[in-house]
Symmetry: C2
Subunit: 423 residues, 2 copies
Amino acid sequence: MTDPAADVRARALRAKVASRALRTASSATKNRALHAIAARLRASVGALREANAEDLVSARAAGLSEAMIDRLTLTDVGIQGIARAVEEIAALPDPVGSVSDLVQRPSGIVVGRMRVPLGVVGMIYESRPNVTVDAAALCLKSGNATVLRGGKEAVRSNEALLACVHGGLVDAGLPADAVVAVPPHDRETTKALLGLVGVLDVVIPRGGEGLVRFVAEHARVPVIAHFQGVCHLYVDEGGDPANASDLVVDGKSRPGVCNALECLLVHESGAAALLPALDARLAELGIEVRADERARALMPHAVPATDGDFGREFLAKILAVRVVRSLDEALDHIARFGSNHTEAIVTPSYANADRFLHEVDASCVLVNASTRFNDGGELGLGAELGIATTKLHAYGPMGLRELTTQKWIVYGHGERRGSAPRS
Amino acid sequence: MTDPAADVRARALRAKVASRALRTASSATKNRALHAIAARLRASVGALREANAEDLVSARAAGLSEAMIDRLTLTDVGIQGIARAVEEIAALPDPVGSVSDLVQRPSGIVVGRMRVPLGVVGMIYESRPNVTVDAAALCLKSGNATVLRGGKEAVRSNEALLACVHGGLVDAGLPADAVVAVPPHDRETTKALLGLVGVLDVVIPRGGEGLVRFVAEHARVPVIAHFQGVCHLYVDEGGDPANASDLVVDGKSRPGVCNALECLLVHESGAAALLPALDARLAELGIEVRADERARALMPHAVPATDGDFGREFLAKILAVRVVRSLDEALDHIARFGSNHTEAIVTPSYANADRFLHEVDASCVLVNASTRFNDGGELGLGAELGIATTKLHAYGPMGLRELTTQKWIVYGHGERRGSAPRS
């Protein structure tokens, strides 16, 4: 019996070897691989659905919830969507190799920064099989090798998807080891992966808070992640109540996502104009309101908010509401209860918009727009691997650029630091 | 007796509270504080030297080496240098608040990225007391609070320097807790600091490899660091031997620094033109050569290189030398033995220069220039906190910009993601 930790290391090392070829692969070659992967996905719908069906049978037998079964399911339309996403990634500009700011220094050397792949990216995820392909495609496009550790419940689906990825890589003359899977096994295997300093350059966990915290706790390699999306909307003095109401409803249009609105703060001067009508609207939509005393006086359907309701990510049709006396109080609330994810203000005030934008520490700060815009597609990244709130390297949606770094390059003419170059 | 770990946490939390004020401090205020700090340093030379003298007495009694005593010593000139460095930091452009790439998206929202402080920066360092002020000044300028854990042997020097920093902060109306020191105590206290997730945004260790590895091993907060500077110079086919010889000598002009040259690779076609003359020159300079068999045949003073000599950071007047058959072999050697720090090529070839720049994975890659240029001042950063090789967020010298991150900002007009905005 092979030692599982040694097996994980061996697989990751194969990806590291392959990463050298990817570092220098041309855009044309990488795009050829991406198109080949998309073609194989489209041609393999039957096989993919068969593998997925086996996973679904096991999932039902194991008593997984309908929501989880739903996340696990690959439909014909869904598979076409995965293929299309790969083609869209192929159409994105290649970030690798671009050089910014070439400047001549007093010493005579010409200095710039070149964008380069990170090297080997580890994705640790659960449930959604599409991440297998999304992650591999983004990493490939950005010149990185990928090590995938998917969810136990999606093993056969992920294997079948990976076969399309491997086929596409080889079609284009790239090494199959550019994308390596490690079996999900158990926590010990995952911990082994998280210890591969010098092999993995970064680990990105995607899944529930439990998974993300486990990864953050045990990783010795750098991690980019977000833990929670406790997103606020603050309706400032003079903020338009009709628009504010629309933004609240838009913020709950998909309650289970990380940029969903969790808490509404309202300046006391606008509470009467906003909250009663909003109360009726939310009740009609089946959204439960947990409010402080002042808000409850204006919202008949609301129940009392407990302390734990502020700073909480409900991921459900539940909204916390609080009336505040000033912008400062709203900023204090956000500083205390926010999760550095997404924060928005509705205001007519130039000065307050400016303060909010500057003072709020979150990956995305919005004036007069919905929190639901904190998304790679909406912000212009084209494709994303999730939202980062860990600040370093990536803050907000992680796209191609976040899978690269910049190294310094120097064009010299023989310069020595100690003295002038010989002519 | 206070629990040391709780004490560390309490101090770091004070810095976190202070970081909100720093986030929004104007450039003028921050510069006022920096100039006040510099003035206090210049006015306190006597007191600083007294405190330093006490540390030196203890250091000698403890039997520290002359090299360590030297690093510990604050001279009049040295103190003036620290003050001048602070004034130079004040003169740098403030990176905070700048916005790049404001773009209108199809949804109507206008999207950009704003440069913001990381928040709370932890510096863990040993020996050199000037780091106390350098780190505090760079963090202050970039709007960050600082938590300092200096070396045990410099406790009184660091306290005296910190008093100047605190005085300058308060002179400008900033909280003294913008820069907090935790006593060096022991490894347990340091470990406690390294576990402060959600309080420290990043930890930067500066010191010997032992310290850096301890920090990397135990940190649960993000770490930016370099472990080793195993820097190579590859003299390609046709590379000018006279310039190559100059670059080797320049590479060893300060053998104890991280960008010092540790290994010379020579294309076999140029070995005879370069190595014999270089051998004599290095012998004259007292630089020991550890070479492979082919190089030794041309370098009478050289001793045999053992396997451990390649990939080794000597930090001394010792150079490893190897003859290679091709650029590919040189690239393989660097990929295997390099430490992602600094790598240089001497070549007349356009194609080989291009390959080297693209293919070498290091924080600074140079063509026809000395490895000694991987330095914040030389590359144009103005001031630096050390060289990073951990790739994420910072790769190469860490300056003001590396102490910041970018958040997304959105100027909206009422947009909802679900449907068009109400007019």
